[in-house]
Symmetry: C2
Subunit: 179 residues, 2 copies
């Protein structure tokens, strides 16, 4: 079958998301397929309804954005070139300016440039560039509280990296507060 | 804002997926919001284009399936009741029969009942029920090769659980081969 849609459903905590993710990883990393993986979780995620889906395909899946977004965070030039047009007017664009150099003109959005990869390298680990950007995004948009983000990192990141990730979030927050 | 769509784009390996997942977890687990998180990865996932999205909402998001599926794996009665109607004719339904007891009539699909939670408990850890179901699904549909699945588990599961997860996959495969 060229393209197969698999749906998993159950309660939170049963490993529904892991199940669909593992199949996606197996296909993409080890067999050269494409995958699209989706998960939704609700207010009762601990014990509530949970759904995960994976579409796995022998032919390339379209990466065209399906909806417009309120914010766009990019860490590569091709990502910016692909997704900028789907950022809503009045939206927020955050760019890792260590990597993305060519930002097309658009005067109906707010643009924040952060040299996140360079900052992360100076902090000791390039892989936390993403968290610097998350810190800036969340501070700017007021998406979730600082404590919620810290707890989410403690829940999901291996313990030896928790402190570094939280530092990265703080660096991102400070940049936005200062601007 | 009642509902916010955030898009992340970059190369594989930059932590794009983690960034969107962390925001979802922060909102859902620590602030009682709803979230929908999506990621797509391509044949060049290691270094290729990667996109992740998170929709975070103060009001409950709709969990109605957006598309029909070729296969459905359920580990709760509400999940079966919600998603069965979107399983395509000729599709495959796999049910954790330790949990889901009431399976509505549909003679246009194939149904496999596996007491996965009971089997997993006997194997020493209830949390691998999901992998028994994945083993059965992948064997039945020929989605990915057994070796690819094993490698995906090695890539993503903490090392002390790798062996148990692989055993669970094998149990699921054997059930389908025997039937």
């Amino acid at each position: 079958m060229a393209k197969t849609d698999i749906r998993f459903g159950g309660f939170g905590g049963q490993g529904i998301i892991t199940a669909s993710y593992i199949i996606g990883i197996a296909g993409v990393m080890h067999e050269g397929k494409d995958a699209l993986q989706t998960q939704s979780f609700g207010t009762q995620a601990r014990g509530g309804q949970c759904r995960a889906e994976v579409m796995i395909s022998d032919i390339p899946l379209s990466y065209a954005p399906m909806t417009s977004s309120d914010a766009l965070v990019v860490m590569s030039q091709p990502a910016l070139d692909s997704y900028l047009k789907s950022l809503k007017p009045g939206g927020l664009l955050i760019v890792d300016s260590s990597i993305v150099k060519d930002i097309p003109e658009r005067d109906d959005i707010e643009i924040i440039r952060i040299p996140a990869s360079e900052m992360a390298t100076k902090m000791g680990n390039k892989v936390i560039a993403n968290m610097i950007l998350v810190g800036a995004l969340v501070e700017k948009m007021g998406l979730v509280k600082r404590e919620s983000l810290t707890k989410a990192i403690e829940d999901t990141v291996p313990s030896r990296f928790v402190e570094l990730n939280i530092q990265a979030i703080e660096e991102g927050r400070k940049l936005v507060q200062a601007s």
